[in-house]
Symmetry: none
Subunit: 112 residues, 2 copies
Amino acid sequence: MSVDKIFEALSSAPRRRILAYLSKTDMTAGQIAERFADMMSQPAISKHLSVLENAGLVWREKRGQNVHYGLQEDALTGTLVHFLGEVCPRSRPYRKESKAAAMRKQKKGGET
Amino acid sequence: MSVDKIFEALSSAPRRRILAYLSKTDMTAGQIAERFADMMSQPAISKHLSVLENAGLVWREKRGQNVHYGLQEDALTGTLVHFLGEVCPRSRPYRKESKAAAMRKQKKGGET
DNA sequence: TGACTATATAACTCAGTAGTTATAAGTGTA
DNA sequence: TACACTTATAACTACTGAGTTATATAGTCA
């Protein structure tokens, strides 16, 4: 789950679209391939999925004869936020505020 | 300053290192090339800088015979934060479908 | 102007990536 | 067992990107 692999994985527009397609729920490889059938073949999607999985951005689970894929959201958020912190000094205050807000929220009791 | 260009630019480890090197202050092309001289040539750095500039991640200013480069922090933070929020900017249609699929799944009853 | 410095571009090579079609491997079912 | 279905892999092609060296362009100063 290296930063290199994550940025490499994110550099492809099709892969970012796949991530978006998984943003609300997990899907089988077949469903994903079907959705993008007008853009590329099933093996191409399979390869993209394996890149995403290898980068730690999605999880993979075999259920029967299907393979489900879903977002590994923590990896994505964690890496990008960390990267922002390293490269963008200005992002530090935002992160601080975000953390503070999170604390307040937790203290209040987790509604949402 | 498209998202595609930004992610493309960020996909290169050398370019991310250049961004980090600029995180505290701007530098001339020469200073940057010098810093990375053990890794690659001056023309290579020049090309990386032009990719970064083209993506809107750094600004460029000619001062005398030097060219200064510096972080365009807002672009980086803005884009990545936005990306994180939505998982992908181009994703609206995909996200809608994803959500719809999630609803259908839920309606059916969680068999899993 | 001419020499010197700083940066960008040209022309090229090489490696890696993204896509293709064909096929293999694994699973469920009659 | 045999067949259908789902997903992954093999083998290949074409393109792109990153690096190289050599050279052009632009600015500074004697």
